[in-house]
Amino acid sequence: MTDKERFVPDEGLAPASTVLPAAGELDEFTKPPRSQWANVWDQFKTHKGALWGGILFLLIVVTVFLGPYVWTIDPTHIDIRARNQGPSLAHPFGTDQLGRDMLARMMAGGRTSVSVGIAAMLLALGLGSLIGVMAGFFKRLDGPLMRLTDLFLALPLLPLLLVMMMLFREPLNATFGPEQGIFILIVCAIGITSWMPTARIVRGDVLALKEREFVLAARSMGTTNTKMILRHILPNVLSPIMVSATLGIATAIITESALSFLGLGFPPDFPTWGRLLFDATDYLQQYPERVFWPGMAISLTVLSVNYLGDGLRDALDPRIRGR
């Protein structure tokens, strides 16, 4: 045996104690840890932009979903004598060319647009994360899945959507009713055509994470693949996923608007923000405020969601939270 002398005396750090402290003593030292979510909230509060974004987004959601119970005018009620009115007490946002109340239509349209945005984002996010993690984690799946991603990226969006509408509109309408059917169709159409960037970003991050030593350490203690992905990989790719999520809501709302604008989306009498924008462009010269309202609503929603996501990403990362 070689002489294992001490090299220099330990300083600063407590030496490896020869007598372990009793359990009761240990309890004295430790306060119950703060819950993770209290810490997240603390950090979130410090990000002013995120706080305001969150409040604004909440406000928009509450308005579009609960507003119709307060402002009870039917958005499809046609009052031809009151058409093209400017803002007034009876119609705060004015009326359109058929005399329908713009405020009621904005709220009804917002409900559809926000729902489509969130649902399509969730679908795209789920698909993108799943494919990204699979491709990054399992070497064998990497090639096929990434080629599939390339394939989807290469598909022209509009013809694809046209074909989807043609093929699935009738059967979906028959099963779920015209509104539900078209909602599902549009959410699927947007979700299926927008998961690719998420998948690519997630795959890249997973590839880098897989070589980190804590993943190897987990492997050496016998962590199964499922546990590895859920406990070590996914929490660490949360940041890019959050960014994709917020951008995803924004693109989904805009894509839905574009679809409605092109007449491929919801039926003409069914208001969405995109449809309102489309209807208003015909009267851009005479009544510019009618473009302003839905445009403003889309922009504000997208902006608030982006800020919200930015703050959430920071708040969920313990490294940033510690500062």
């Binding site: 220099v8 750090l13 490294r319």
Partner: protein, 318 residues
């Protein structure tokens, strides 16, 4: 001599590497013909330059990867995929980079309890918690560190956490994959002292992978010198350091920095590069860089021979 806890015989790990669309895959011989024994309480050092297969050896012993040849026995049981689950708790690993080896999203409590959750699923949460706190104290960290995140610690503290995690399953063998080379010199000695203390108290066997020879000389009982995936010299560390016989070992030792300038022997400077592990070398892999090379060295590879202090060389230094 007490019973061997790890025995490796002719351990090998070869990788197939695809080079192009049409060409046949090449074989990278990361590790060939490595044999050693490890007793409880013993420290075996593996030294060599980058790319000589040290870390590959660590991965094989910790069952992160499977050997492609040879035999590895832990506690007398052959290490095959079927036995991995039962043998895992006997071998744990501490990695080089204390910044990469802890999941930044998990608290220390979670990190320490993770091995128990996976390998002792029937253990109660209180019991896990108690054990984790106990191990945290064992490596010299304070109880209030228990609920913090890894980024709140310094490199040395993180390495202590890594050691605590490795000790959670009460292993008999710790594989230390360059555990101190990423740390400040002042912290290195603290971690080494901790490792010495732990070994004395728990009777651990260490497989200590390093390229810091001055540490190996003091810290380890036996040493394996590797070159290009093969053992070139193997023996008790005192003997190897006092009387290095393989030219490569001699060159390595002569390259160790000395505290007193001008007091040492002349430094041997090796010429040339490490050959690619993909090439099939007929003779001694060290021949292109060796100053004692003969025709025999270029024609055939010397086998490891010479008993307790073995070398793989035709023209050893005296």
């Amino acid at each position: 001599m007490s019973e061997q806890i790890v025995t490796a015989r002719n351990l090998a790990r070869h990788y197939e590497v695809k080079q192009g669309f049409l060409s046949a895959p090449a074989t990278v011989r990361a590790l060939s013909d490595v044999s050693f024994d490890l007793r409880p309480g013993q420290t075996l050092a593996v030294v060599g330059e980058s790319g000589c297969g040290k870390s590959t050896l660590a991965r094989l012993v910790t069952m992160i990867e499977e050997p492609t040849g040879g035999e590895l026995r832990i506690k007398g049981e052959a290490v095959t995929r079927d036995h991995w689950a039962s043998l895992r708790s006997s071998v744990q690993i501490v990695f080089q980079d204390p910044y990469g080896s802890l999941n930044p999203r998990q608290r220390i409590s979670t990190i320490l309890q993770e091995p128990l959750k996976i390998n002792r699923p029937d253990m109660s949460a209180e019991e896990r918690d108690r054990l984790a706190r106990e191990k945290l104290a064992l490596v010299g960290l304070r109880p209030e560190h228990y609920d913090r995140f890894p980024h709140m610690f310094s490199g040395g503290q993180r390495q202590r956490i890594s050691i605590a995690r490795a000790l959670m399953l009460d292993p008999a063998i710790l594989v230390l994959d360059e555990p101190i080379s990423a740390l400040d010199v002042s912290i290195q000695s603290q971690i080494l002292n901790l490792l010495v203390e732990l070994q004395e108290r728990l009777g651990l066997a260490y497989l200590f992978i390093s390229h810091d020879l001055s540490v190996v000389r003091h810290f380890c009982d036996d040493v394996i010198v590797m070159y290009l995936g093969r053992v070139v010299e193997q023996g008790p560390s005192k003997e190897v350091f006092a009387n290095p016989r393989h030219p490569y070992t001699k060159a390595l030792i002569s390259a160790t920095p000395r505290a007193v300038p001008g007091s040492g022997r002349k430094r041997i400077k090796l010429q040339g590069e490490l050959p690619s592990p993909m090439d099939l070398i007929e003779g001694c892999p060290f021949a292109p860089r060796c100053w004692r090379v003969t025709d025999q060295c270029r024609k055939s590879r010397p086998e490891l021979s010479g008993g307790a202090h073995g070398i793989a060389c035709y023209n050893p230094e005296d």
